[in-house]
């Protein structure tokens, strides 16, 4: 077995020689030895064609899945050593998901959607409502607290989802094609919001297949057939 470099303490997430095997008639490696380090405060984009292993990478970083081989360390904790319940707890406090299809709870107001992760984290009602209100104010939806998702535009929904992702002050923001269902104007707004959040110190991992979206990041990780094809460092001011 090859020596695996120790994860930096500064890493929000660190993948070390990670392999993920699925058995579909014959074993298939969705990820085949990926080593990737996401420093705190970094902004990384992942690009790759469908089937390249992007989703599997997302699921592993987001603690929805466990690797077959190698180590996934999130917020300094090795996923392999965690029980299912501990992994869920860590997911709740360390990972904020932003999905292409927003994935808001349809029967909950914007405020309740943002407060939901804090419910499962055991935050008291008054505190979580105050924080949810502040977060929605921060994404420019201070006047939409009591609206249901179907009373909001696509861009507004995605901003609610971003506010929800920030609810438990996560170690990493995971965005999976966050602009995939938005028009170019609202896409620009949402990406500007991510830039802003990253500037405030949040670690962002953005999965996309659009080059101009990926260029908002500091670096682009190209992934192909379960392996890192290349890592492209960007001039961080280029997109401004």
């Amino acid at each position: 077995m090859t020596a695996v470099p120790e994860a930096s303490v500064e890493s929000a997430v660190s993948l070390q020689a990670v392999r993920k095997r699925y058995d579909r008639g014959e074993p298939v490696f969705a990820l085949d030895g990926v080593t990737l380090d996401l420093p705190r405060g970094s902004y990384t984009a992942v690009m790759g064609p469908s089937g390249s292993g992007k989703s599997t990478l997302m699921n592993l970083v987001g603690l929805l899945d466990t690797p077959t081989d190698g180590r996934v360390v999130v917020d300094g904790r090795d996923v392999a050593t965690l029980s299912g319940a501990d992994r869920t707890a860590l997911r709740g406090e360390a990972v904020g998901f932003v999905f292409q299809t927003f994935n808001l709870m349809p029967r909950l107001t914007a405020l309740d959607n943002v407060a939901l992760p804090m419910v499962f984290a055991g935050v008291a009602r008054a505190n979580r409502e105050a924080r949810a209100t502040a977060l929605l104010g921060g994404v420019g939806l201070g006047d939409r607290l009591d609206h249901l998702p179907n009373e909001l535009s696509g861009g507004q929904r995605q901003r609610v989802a971003i506010a929800r992702a920030l609810a438990n002050d996560p170690t990493i923001l995971l965005a999976d094609e966050p602009t995939g269902n938005l028009d170019s104007k609202t896409s620009a707004d949402v990406l500007a919001l991510f830039d802003e959040l990253n500037a405030e110190g949040n670690t962002v991992l953005l999965v996309t297949h659009e080059r101009d979206v990926a260029e908002h990041a500091e670096r682009i990780v190209h992934i192909l057939d379960g392996r890192l094809e290349r890592v492209e460092e960007l001039d961080t001011v280029s997109h401004i």
Partner: protein, 365 residues
Amino acid sequence: MVGDLGGEGASNVNVWSAPTGTAGPPGAGAQPVFTTSDVDELDRLAGVREVVPRGSAPLSAVRSGDDTVALQQATTYGRPYFASEDLRDGRAFRQGANETVLNPTAAALFEENVSVGDTLTLTLEDGRQAEVRVVGILDTSGAQDPFEGFGEGPRVYLPADPYYERVVTAPGSGERERAYPAAFVIADGPEAVDGVRERTLDYLRDESDAASLLAPNAEFVAQTNEELLDQVRDILDTLTAFVTGVAVISLVVGAIGIANIMLVSVTERTREIGIMKAVGASDRDVLGLFLVEAVVLGVVGALFGTLVGFGAGYLGTRFVGLPYVVPWEWAVVAVVVGVLVGVVAGLYPAWNAARTDPIDALRYE
């Protein structure tokens, strides 16, 4: 209902004759076999306080003033069978007098309510007429004795002398004597009632006029009110068991209904379960949410069912004319069972929800 038969009747033995091997209600198939001499002999048995022979007088109508109503029969007692506390007004009739006691329903039959002191004209079955004075009105219209059955019909009570007219030549005395189809043998006290019952049957079978008059395929029945109660209880128990059976089946069907709704609900909300898990909901959180929903369904159903039960019970007792009793303890049982059914029926769907894989759930359309 059972309460109607208990109380002071605990010392009474109800006696009648019935075709052999039948198990009908009290008095079913009774023949007029108990002569006045039999009644006197029974009265002399050890432990017997009093014997009250009972018969009915066939009528065709009763008139009060210009107001005539049809009435098929009156109940006649050989001795006063009413305690003073049974009477709302007046007193019991005397034997040999042209007097009558009515129950409230009978008193209200006429346009102007009949009261104590009024005179009624009875038209007997054969067309003869008799004038009787109302001397008492009963307190309630319920059955005065077990032979009347349940219900609150209009009833007119008369002294057997002179209104009970069934007579036979008594085999013992050779005289023409009244012959009654039934009698109440009243013991000195509830503790004496079983002995009195034995002695009554012994006397009737061996030496009585009734034994000679009894049809060959008939037998004497002597039943204490306690036995009668047992019979009624048996019937009620059977009924209760039947209703309970139906209820249990309903519960099973209800549980399957809840489980089905919950399974549909879990499937419909697969994506929401995925979202909840992605934002940190543990398996136990999800399990709890769906269990609570199932329990709420069960409790709401139980409360609704209890209310419907109260309403139906009220209407039913109104319709049958029984007192309306609210069984609170059963209402509590219903809610508790509702919770249990909710838990049992919700367990599998909730467990299904809890172990949903968030990756699949988020992809679910």
